[in-house]
């Protein structure tokens, strides 16, 4: 067998081809947002050099469906994060710092949660929500997301906590702080990279989720930007241009969040892999 770096001189060519395949949809979306509708139909692959226009984005922004959808998505995503991040951080702190049977069992429990596909738990979740009279409410969707992504948060935070020295916990305890105080005033501020990556990744998944808002919230009671687009395509006869404008607006918030927090992103996921 030849060396792992096979393909030799064709390596770069291969990389370019694969990248092109992955980039193609992105490229299509980006170039066509700024072209008028007929130009999109005529030459979908061309760059918007002669006919650059922002009218697509503008008309999309005026759609009540889009405005409502963005607002709902924002409420649900922020709500889920506000609930999930502190809870998973605290759970991770307990699970990684306390040396007890309960802690170890809990960790296993969370790891199982990580392995569950969302579709599998969606129906049982609706049953629970119905009992709690939370079906077709924002809270229902928020609780669903917070619970579903909690294991992920615990996983990332407990990994990162390995690189936070226990001596800090001890110093805080000796200084007279309760465990809760030690966590919030000393440990949590030191986990910023982990917090940033949990926020970005969870926001991305929550924002883009289609199934949960569709099933739990229901189109009659509210639309997120994802279900909104879906409905828009069928219900209204919008032209291509406006559709692209809608998609563009839908991606913007999470993209902005990512750019804002990106320097923490990678270090957050890998922090704790090696000591210090």
């Amino acid at each position: 067998m030849t060396s792992p770096l096979w393909l030799g001189r064709y390596r770069s060519a291969f990389a370019v081809v694969v990248s092109a395949i992955f980039a193609a949809p992105l490229y299509l979306a980006l170039v066509n947002v700024f072209k008028p509708a007929d130009a999109i139909r005529a030459h979908p692959l061309a760059l918007p050099l002669h006919d650059f226009t922002t009218s697509n984005v503008a008309s999309a922004a005026q759609l009540s469906l889009v405005q409502h959808g963005l607002k709902t998505s924002l409420i649900i995503t922020v709500g889920s994060l506000l609930l999930m991040v502190p809870l998973s951080a605290m759970a991770a702190y307990y699970v990684s710092r306390w040396d007890s049977k309960v802690a170890r069992l809990l960790m296993l429990f969370f790891l199982f949660g990580l392995m569950l596909p969302p579709q599998v738990v969606l129906i049982p979740t609706t049953v629970i929500l119905r009992h709690l009279h939370l079906m077709f409410t924002y809270w229902g969707v928020i609780l669903n997301f917070a619970a579903y992504y909690l294991p992920f948060g615990v996983f990332v935070f407990s990994g990162f906590l390995r690189s936070v020295s226990r001596e800090l916990d001890e110093a805080g305890a000796i200084d007279g702080a309760s465990s809760l105080k030690v966590f919030w005033r000393i440990i949590f501020p030191l986990m910023r990279p982990a917090t940033a990556s949990v926020i970005v990744v969870t926001a991305l998944w929550t924002w883009n989720d289609f199934l949960s808002p569709l099933i739990i919230l229901g189109a009659a009671h509210g639309v997120t930007i994802t279900t909104g687009i879906y409905l828009a395509i069928g219900t209204y006869s919008i032209d291509y241009g406006q559709e692209f404008g809608v998609m563009f607006l839908a991606s913007l918030p999470v993209l902005a969040l990512f750019l804002f927090l990106q320097r923490y992103f990678v270090s957050g996921l890998t922090g704790g892999a090696t000591k210090g």
Partner: protein, 421 residues
């Protein structure tokens, strides 16, 4: 300010490892006690149990008048200085020092006053707004101390606070910490593996080995009246010379086939019935006698330190042995065995099974490598230890048993046992 009492304290870890075994020790209010011993001796575990960072398996620890076994760290009224300082990285020096006071719900003005006072005392006033990563090692160490001092606790606990500093800074900080403690007067438990630190800083020093307290006494007593072979070997640098010799008629020590010396008179009673005894003699108590009596030895190496000369010798005695004692020395994680000369002398001795001797001679004495000479010593400078138990034979002036306190004598001037490093 309070006294600390250890009563039958034992720590057993999962798997049956007993890190601390039946520790009984009373530390008086205002005393500075050093726990010293090789790695794994239990000194840090004992400290952490006092801090509440380790659970106590058996026995009780009391701070002041109350037993603190079940009292959480936050409520024990203690302050700790960690080996790695454990400063809060995201907080400024001021905030680091203020944190503990804020937990006590002190007013903002009081917090500010106390922090600034201590910062002035420790010369940290210009650094109050800096974060720990912008400070040098010595400055961080002072912040760690300041954080402890500012809380005005009943007890200070220090876990090898100087080990991360360079040698020069360490010597300086040793004196500063001791002076500070005298001024403030808080009871202090200080853990170190460095016997020099222990001897220069402690009012009393507790020597531990494998979880068992060997002896606790003022540095002077530890040096001149070690309770057993371990303490004798551990305290003092260069280490005390220890070797086993036969005893004749309970009165004479057989140094060699033709060489004997009379045992000290106080030991006659205890020597009767014993066939062998461990003799200990400090390097500075050995004298060169080129043609008289004494122990015949050959010079393996010479270290000229300017003010004095350290001579490494090998005894040519056929009856004196030190294999048993060398096993003891091997188990010590001895940082003093750094000199390549010593290491070489040791390797040679191990192969030849001869007794190694270290002598401390004045600079005017001339010895050369390879030279053969005789070493003499006074009977009253001799330390005697039982071969089986390793315990010192009792002296008429009382001696010191393992957990009996000697009188509290404060170290004032340069220590008698300062090593030449």
């Amino acid at each position: 300010m309070a006294q600390v009492e250890f009563s039958e304290v034992t720590k057993e870890f999962a798997g049956g490892v007993r890190a601390v075994e039946n520790l009984n020790l009373r530390i008086d209010d205002g005393e500075f006690v050093v726990f010293v011993g090789p790695s794994g001796c239990g000194k840090t575990t004992a400290l952490r149990m006092t801090a509440g960072l380790e659970a106590i398996s058996e026995g009780t620890i009391s701070i002041g008048d109350r037993v603190v076994n079940d009292v959480p760290s936050a409520k024990r009224d203690i302050a700790m200085v960690f080996q790695n300082y454990a400063l809060y990285p995201h907080m400024s020096v001021f905030e680091n020092m203020a944190f503990g006071l804020q937990q006590q719900r002190l007013s903002k003005r009081e917090v500010e006053r106390r922090v600034r006072d201590i910062a002035d005392l420790l010369e940290l006033d210009q650094y109050l707004s800096r974060k720990p990563r912008a400070l040098s090692g010595g400055q961080r160490q002072r912040v760690a101390m300041g954080r402890a001092i500012v809380r005005e606790p009943a007890v200070f606990l220090m876990d090898e606070p100087l080990s991360n500093l360079d040698a020069k800074l360490r010597v300086q900080m040793r004196a500063e910490i001791r002076a500070l403690q005298r001024e403030i007067g808080t009871t202090t438990i200080y853990v170190t593996h460095d016997q020099v630190e222990a001897m220069t800083m402690g009012d009393r020093v507790a020597v531990l080995r494998s979880g068992v307290l060997q002896q606790v006494a003022a540095p002077h007593a530890l040096y001149h009246r070690p309770a057993n072979v371990f303490v004798a070997e551990f305290i003092g640098s260069p280490a005390m010379n220890l070797f086993e010799v036969p005893v004749d008629h309970g009165r004479e020590l057989v140094l060699d086939s033709s060489e004997r010396m009379s045992a000290p008179a106080w030991a006659f009673d205890q020597l009767s019935g014993l066939s062998r005894i461990v003799v200990g003699i400090r390097p500075e108590d050995l004298h060169i006698d080129r043609d008289g009596g004494g122990l015949q030895a050959s010079v393996q190496g010479v270290e000229d330190l300017g003010a004095e000369v350290i001579a490494h010798l090998e005894a040519e005695s056929a009856v004196a042995t030190s294999r048993h004692i060398r096993e003891l020395a091997d188990e010590l994680d001895d940082p003093r065995l750094v000199s390549g000369l010593r290491r070489a002398a040791r390797t040679v001795a191990t192969r030849s099974d001869r007794v190694r001797i270290v002598a401390r001679l004045s600079a005017t004495v001339r010895v050369r490598e390879g030279e053969r000479l005789r070493l003499t010593f006074d009977a009253d400078k001799v330390h005697l230890f039982n071969v089986e138990s390793g315990l010192a034979l009792k002296r008429p002036d009382g001696g010191v048993a393992a957990d009996v306190r000697s009188s509290l004598s404060l170290m004032t001037g340069p220590s008698l046992v300062e090593s030449n490093g």
